[in-house]
C-alpha cells in the first residue's frame, strides 16, 4: 500500500513495526511515512493500536520489530544491525526532537503555566531562565493564555491546561508533534479552543500526527487520514477518500456508520 503522497523524503518513517503485549498483538507490521509539514490523523476503533503507535514514535513504548526513523535516525535503538536499546541519555535527546500532547494534559502540578514550558527549555535546551521565560510568554500568547502565565495547573480549566500542554510541546521546536486524543478528556464546550490552536499550528507548517475521535476536525485539518483496525493500517489516503461513505473497506464502513449514527 502506498503511504506517501509525494516524493519528498519522509521526516517520519515507520516501517513494519510490530508489538505485542503478552499474547495480544497490538501492532501488526505497521508502516507509515509522514513528510515534513504534513498533518496526519489516525482514526479507528478503540483498541486498534492508535495510541500505542503514537507512543512508539517517541519511544514511550518500545516495539518488538520493525523500525521508526525520524530524519533518518532510528528512534529507540542504536543504528546498525543489532537491536540494541539506546542509552537513556540518547533516548532523552531523541525524545526532545518530538513533542507530545497527552489526553490527560499531564502538566507538572508544582509548576506554573510558564514554568511547565520553561522546564524543557532550561534543562534540555540549555537556555537561560530569562530566555526560556520569553519563549514561554510568546507561546502562551499564541495559545491565548498570556494572562495565565503564573497560574498553577490546578487553577486552569481543562481547555486552558491542554493549551499549556500544546505550548509546552511546541516551545521545544520539535521536528514533529504527536497529539494523543487531546480533546477526549475535555468538556464539549472546551474542545473548540484547543482545536483552534492545533489548526493554527498546522497553518504554520508544523508536522503533526494526531490520534483523534474528532472526525470533522480530522477531515478539515489533516492532509491524510490513517484508519487503523486490529493493530494494522486498514486504509490511508486524503480525508475525502477515507471518509467517503461509499468506501469498499468493510471495517472502515462499519466504523464510519457507527460514528455518523452517534453524531446525529
Amino acid at each position: 500500500m502506498a503511504t506517501t503522497s509525494d516524493n519528498s523524503p519522509a521526516l517520519l518513517d515507520i516501517a513494519e513495526v510490530s508489538k505485542s503485549f503478552g499474547s495480544v498483538e497490538v501492532l501488526r507490521s505497521v508502516s507509515l511515512k509522514v513528510a515534513k509539514g504534513e498533518v496526519v490523523a489516525i482514526i479507528g476503533p478503540s483498541g486498534s493500536g492508535k495510541t500505542t503507535l503514537l507512543r512508539c514514535v517517541n519511544f514511550l513504548e518500545s516495539y518488538d520489530s520493525g523500525s521508526i526513523r525520524i530524519d533518518g535516525k532510528e528512534v529507540g535503538f542504536r543504528d546498525g544491525g543489532a537491536r540494541q536499546r539506546r542509552s537513556e541519555r540518547d533516548l532523552a535527546a531523541m525524545r526532545a526532537e518530538t513533542g507530545m500532547v497527552f489526553q490527560g494534559f499531564n502538566l507538572f502540578p508544582h509548576l506554573t503555566a510558564a514554568g511547565n514550558i520553561m522546564l524543557g527549555l532550561t534543562k534540555v535546551r540549555g537556555k537561560s531562565s530569562g530566555e526560556a521565560r520569553s519563549i514561554a510568554d510568546h507561546w502562551l500568547g499564541r495559545v491565548g493564555l498570556a494572562h495565565k502565565a503564573d497560574s498553577l495547573p490546578a487553577e486552569l480549566s481543562g481547555g486552558q491546561q491542554q493549551r499549556v500542554g500544546i505550548a509546552r510541546a511546541v516551545a521545544m521546536e520539535p521536528k514533529i508533534l504527536l497529539l494523543d486524543e487531546i480533546t477526549s478528556a475535555l468538556d464539549p464546550e472546551l474542545v473548540g479552543e484547543v482545536l483552534a490552536v492545533v489548526k493554527s499550528l498546522a497553518e504554520d507548517g508544523m508536522t503533526m500526527v494526531m490520534v483523534t475521535h474528532e472526525m470533522a476536525f480530522a477531515r478539515d485539518a489533516s492532509s491524510r487520514i490513517v484508519f487503523m483496525a486490529d493493530g494494522g493500517v486498514s486504509a490511508v489516503g486524503p480525508p475525502k477518500e477515507v471518509l467517503a461513505a461509499e468506501t469498499t473497506n468493510e471495517r472502515l464502513r462499519t466504523f464510519l456508520a457507527r460514528f455518523r449514527a452517534s453524531q446525529f
Binding site: N58, A92, A96, F105, L119, K123, R168
Partner: protein, 221 residues
C-alpha cells in the same frame, strides 16, 4: 483524705522542663533531618533497584518497625560500644538511633509517594527530553513531596513524642526533667500534669505550623 495540688515546687524547677522541651525539639529536628536523607536515598534506590537491594532495604524497614524503640536505644547506647570500640555521648547515641528509626518509617512514606506519582507526569517528562535524573529531580520528587508532606508532618509529631524515650539513657529532655522533679519533690501528679500539657501544646503548635507549611507548598510558585 484528699491530695492537695501544689504547683509551686514545679514552677521553682520549671527551667528543667523548659530546657528539656527545647532539647526534645532539638533531638526531633536533628533526627528527622537525618531520617529524611536516609529515607529519600533508600526510597529512590528501592524503586529503581533489583531484587537483592530491595530485599536488603525491606529487611531494614521491617526490622526497625518490629523492634520497640526503647530496645533500639538500649542496643545502640549499651550494646554497640561493647562490640565496637567507639565512644559517644548518650545524646549522640539517641539521635543516631532515632534517625535510623525514623529513616525506616520515611523509606515507606517516600516509596509509596514515589509510586503514587502519576504515570502521565513521568511520560510528560520523558516527552520533553528530560533524562532519568532530571525527571527524578524536577518531576518525581516535587510531586512526591506534595503527596507525602502530610505523612511527613505526622511522622515528625510522633518523633517529637518519641524523644521521651531518651530519658532512659539520661538525656535531659522533657520527660527526664519531669522524672528529676518527681524524684526531688514527690509532686508526681503536678509534674506529669504540667509535662503532659507541655507535650500537648507543643504537639498542636507543631501540627498547626506544619499544616501552614503544607498549604504554602501546595500553592507556592
Amino acid at each position: 483524705m484528699g491530695y492537695t495540688l501544689n504547683f509551686n515546687l514545679i514552677w521553682r524547677h520549671f527551667d528543667k522542663l523548659w530546657g528539656g522541651l527545647l532539647l526534645s525539639l532539638e533531638l526531633a529536628v536533628i533526627s528527622i533531618a537525618i531520617g529524611i536523607v536516609i529515607g529519600l536515598v533508600l526510597a529512590v534506590w528501592y524503586v529503581s533497584a533489583g531484587r537483592v537491594v530491595r530485599g536488603i532495604i525491606a529487611s531494614y524497614v521491617e526490622f526497625i518497625r518490629n523492634v520497640p524503640l526503647i530496645l533500639l536505644v538500649y542496643l545502640v547506647f549499651y550494646g554497640l560500644p561493647t562490640v565496637i570500640d567507639l565512644a559517644y555521648s548518650a545524646q549522640t547515641s539517641f539521635v543516631a538511633t532515632l534517625a535510623v528509626y525514623s529513616g525506616a518509617y520515611l523509606v515507606e512514606v517516600f516509596r509509596s509517594g514515589l509510586e503514587a506519582v502519576p504515570r502521565g507526569q513521568i511520560d510528560a517528562g520523558k516527552a520533553i527530553g528530560l533524562t532519568p535524573w532530571q525527571r527524578l529531580v524536577h518531576v518525581r520528587l516535587p510531586t512526591m513531596m506534595r503527596i507525602t508532606l502530610p505523612a511527613l508532618s505526622n511522622t515528625f509529631i510522633s518523633l517529637f513524642k518519641d524523644t521521651s524515650v531518651a530519658s532512659v539513657i539520661s538525656v535531659p529532655e522533657l520527660t527526664y526533667g519531669a522524672q528529676w522533679i518527681n524524684f526531688n519533690t514527690f509532686r508526681i501528679v503536678e509534674v506529669y500534669l504540667v509535662v503532659t500539657a507541655m507535650y500537648l501544646v507543643t504537639g498542636y503548635a507543631l501540627l498547626f505550623a506544619l499544616r501552614l507549611v503544607e498549604r504554602w507548598y501546595r500553592t507556592a510558585r
